[in-house]
Amino acid sequence: MYAAGEHVGASDGDGGAPRRGPRRGCHKTIASCTSSALTRPDQDRRGGGPLLARSRRSAGSFEAKTGKKVVLSFGSSGLLAKQIAEGAPFDLFAAANVSFADDAVKSGRCQADTKRLYARGRIVLWTRRGAPMAASLSDLTSDRFTKIAIANPEHAPYGKAAREALEHAGIWEQVKPKIVFGENVRQALQFAETGNADAAIVALSLAKVTDGEVTEVPEDAHAPLDQAMVVCGTGPRAAVAEDFAAFVGSPEGRAIMNKFGFVLPGEAVK
């Protein structure tokens, strides 16, 4: 099972707890998890995110090549790391921040020597087409922007980067009353897409595949968003997981990653 992206059962029917463990119907071959922080909603809202899209593309190519089946599961990095620590049967964990991969290693269920970087995240300022634009972060102090959405900085890496960038620009305290938190970076974007927020600070990979006005935030405005994957578990499935991780790192895998806005230092943003 490969886990990446959107709510892995964010809530159950009765306002309750996040759902534990793999989803029903998951056949375990390769498991990986990646934060929703990497995902984006499709413009047509029929689902799929950049991470979802690129994961599916990667998984599809890998399956075609090796004949091994990959099952993807998506959730926020923090939650997935927690689930892995509690014994969720994931074989590969792609985290939106290397710290979550480290947490998974610390829990004793993932192997430290398999950790590899797959992207360094970039953030952008996103506004709706036709809505007032922001040429830079400092424009957000203007009255034109009454609500600004970011992912929850407490546990979403892209939200943390967004807060750091606002602090770096010296306007965090000023814009704080306008900030609303998305559960993840996708929800932050959704708030802005639906016009409920006037702007959102989201992942470049999300913005790339969403129709809107995009202003890049300088890379040095926040701590590097290093994203890593790590193999969890042991046995034959872990071997397949290692193959999959190697595939993502191969030139063919990198091309897919780059296409969806996931670049490593040294790779060009297209």
Partner: protein, 219 residues
Amino acid sequence: MSAAPLLLSFQIAIVATAFAAVIGIALGLLLSRPFPGRDLIDVIVTAPIVLPPTVLGYYVLVALGRTSVLGGAFESITGSPIVFTKTGAVVAAFIGALPLTTKSARAALEGVDGRLVLAARTLGAGPLRAFLSVHLPLAARGILAGTMLGFARSLGDFGVTLMVAGNIPGETQTAALAIYDAIQAGRDRDATFMVAFLTLLAAFMLYAITKLTERTDAR
């Protein structure tokens, strides 16, 4: 640190339950008598019990969001939107509570011997007075039980609040959301404290509700 979301949850649940209780009694009274379209209203009021919170959250965003007619009107009058505010959190909690208060109020009002109400009317009481001084007091136990159930439900709303409230500490970050955040951020101690508190409270309220309804049955 972890007491603030609990207090906020109480604040929101109290306001939401007050609305849900009053509107629930009115709807319960309405539904206790046959009229065309009664079943349709019953279905609409009951639906939040069975609909996924995402569906309800979506409806609230569409109907009360800042770009909606209602949401826009509210914002131009009050100066603040419904979504991302306490108002939004109250709406979310209210939606969860209303079916429970309405169902209970209807059952309790229907359970009152109609002849007692008629007797009050023959003694000169108007419809309102007969309702307030005879019908409502006789149904009070069941209504109170339903209100407590509604309160318990609104105290714990997660799905709708998550979708419309924006998770703002001190404003819309209720205990249910704070627990979710604490688990994701690895703050197990905070999560455990709030989880234990809400569990004990829920157990106490459910016990009280059972006792209340038991005595109603026995009477």
